[in-house]
Symmetry: C2
Subunit: 343 residues, 2 copies
Amino acid sequence: MTDQSRVPPNLQAVADAAGVHRSTASRALNPATRHLVAGDVAGRIVETARRLGYRRDALAASLRTGRSRLVGVIVPDIANPVFGPILRGIERALAACGYSALLVNAGQGEADQMRLVEELMERRVDGLILATARRNDPVLGACLAAGTPTVLVNRADEGQRASAVVSDDRAGMVLAVRHLASLGHTRIGHLAGPQDLSTGALRRAGFVDAVRELGIGIEDAWVTASAYTREAGEIATSELLARHDVTAIAAANDLLALGAYRACAARGLVCPRDMSIVGHNDMPLVDMVEPPLTTIRISHLRMGEEAARLLVREIEAPDSEPERIVTEPELVLRASTAEPRSL
Amino acid sequence: MTDQSRVPPNLQAVADAAGVHRSTASRALNPATRHLVAGDVAGRIVETARRLGYRRDALAASLRTGRSRLVGVIVPDIANPVFGPILRGIERALAACGYSALLVNAGQGEADQMRLVEELMERRVDGLILATARRNDPVLGACLAAGTPTVLVNRADEGQRASAVVSDDRAGMVLAVRHLASLGHTRIGHLAGPQDLSTGALRRAGFVDAVRELGIGIEDAWVTASAYTREAGEIATSELLARHDVTAIAAANDLLALGAYRACAARGLVCPRDMSIVGHNDMPLVDMVEPPLTTIRISHLRMGEEAARLLVREIEAPDSEPERIVTEPELVLRASTAEPRSL
DNA sequence: TGACATCATGCAATCGATTGCAGAAGATCA
DNA sequence: TGATCTTCTGCAATCGATTGCATGATGTCA
């Protein structure tokens, strides 16, 4: 029968009810310090706390200890399906360590993001996870300058300033191009993502590498999309097709690939008969589009988990060196790629 | 030139540097109480704070004021694409009011969820948004019993115990069935969602209503899927087709509809020629599947925003009555529905 | 029995900001 | 000039838990 009085009991109330000092109650209630209290007394205190419905005030504890067990997570767009699994991974791994995630959606500009970081700092977050990093990100610089443990996820910065968990973007694109080459394609184009993001830059680099390595095609057969959206993909594809005579397209992102579907359809090109297309990310539902999209799978869930674990480690061992965890991407074969028609 | 000393300055430090008492500094730095301080003094304090790089400690302020400006948000699965827009709406509206979202992913069982709520309460959240509500949810009961302002989103409970922001699920399904009827279908089946969720129950009720109202078809031509997944949709569709001779299916959810695509394909039925299918939710990318899915659009973003606004109102006016906001769903016509073949 | 180690508990300072109350200084009016 | 009011600032208690230090109790061994 828990007491339903108006004001919730505090530590003092529990201590009084158990006939001990609040410091003893504090020790008995914290698993890490329970051994300092005699077994029977500890038992009595725990029981009393349960009976009174005592709930420890995490705010007060944080104030005293200086650790909030809160982690700020900044994503560019929560509504974007690729961030769902990342967030779930982060949340799960944080929860396992007793931390909680303070989620914020990044604003448009840099000033906006600075303000967000500032607000998170006011809440005394123990660390930050940024999924928003650009290659040379002043926001990241500010976080590091403030001495807050910070980990990047999905996108890395240019230097090795902070720890990061990313997919091997370069290798992923090599996988895609090799696959197309193995089908017999020699004229392959690339839809590049924004070049101020590590994903955009590295995947393009991977494309150039692969084309050079295989000794095929045209290294400069690429067009940069203005954003990772279907619309931008459609526009960029039109431009690519206008400039180069390609039989296959390796896109830096699934949405760009879907934009390419549209642009091809508009020109009467049938995928994969007239044009092979490879995406990147393996977003939910791309196996259901027509044709089902061949793409590069990235383990977003695991990336989120690793990022959270890395951050917790940095929080608890503040002077550790920045680390970079790179996960291996994987080719997922579906129906949007085939041998070129001329074969 | 902000001071880069090791320990961050506190209010006392600002007060000392400005030659005033900390209480005066507190008042000058808080916009709501600034008018209590003489203009020139306030200006000097603000300037000093800026110069020292002062950052208010939200933890300490919360402890003193009893308000954390933190809201707990519990979703069943962050990785599910429908929750992305809801979360963004919540986050945006909360931020506009100076609140932050503490995001947690619901565990499996009820006990798990209780523990999550307990942890959020320890952090002294000012309120809760639940996207996990079942029709008669004991977790919700616990939140209300604890006196924490709570708002449900997307799914409502059975009674009117708490405020909720939901789509008009019943009307949405009526829209779907009327659309099928208007094409000439008279034998329509329903893939129902889990019946312990308001969405599942109300959409089924809407199906029965519509069938009855139109005087067509068979009121009991429905099968309940075990979960809102493609797999469950596929299994339920097989069962439905085995039991009823229907020419159209109205699904309680887009994923169920995509499961129906599979089940139909497996039986050699071509959609929409042999079978019309309507989804529900208008998830991202369902316009790109083959055939593009006709579905019922729900404004998840707006639902999230409204839920957050409602919660903030309840936090700031604690004795307000539970309110229910119902948004209007909308039919999105694509290519998965057509006249029945026999016409 | 006395010296000393060990264990359990209490004491009180501390984290950093907020706010009701009181009092000082200055303004207003008769 | 004195009474009264207004405006501004300082004082100190408070929110609730944690923890270094001190002290008292108990046990051990010579």
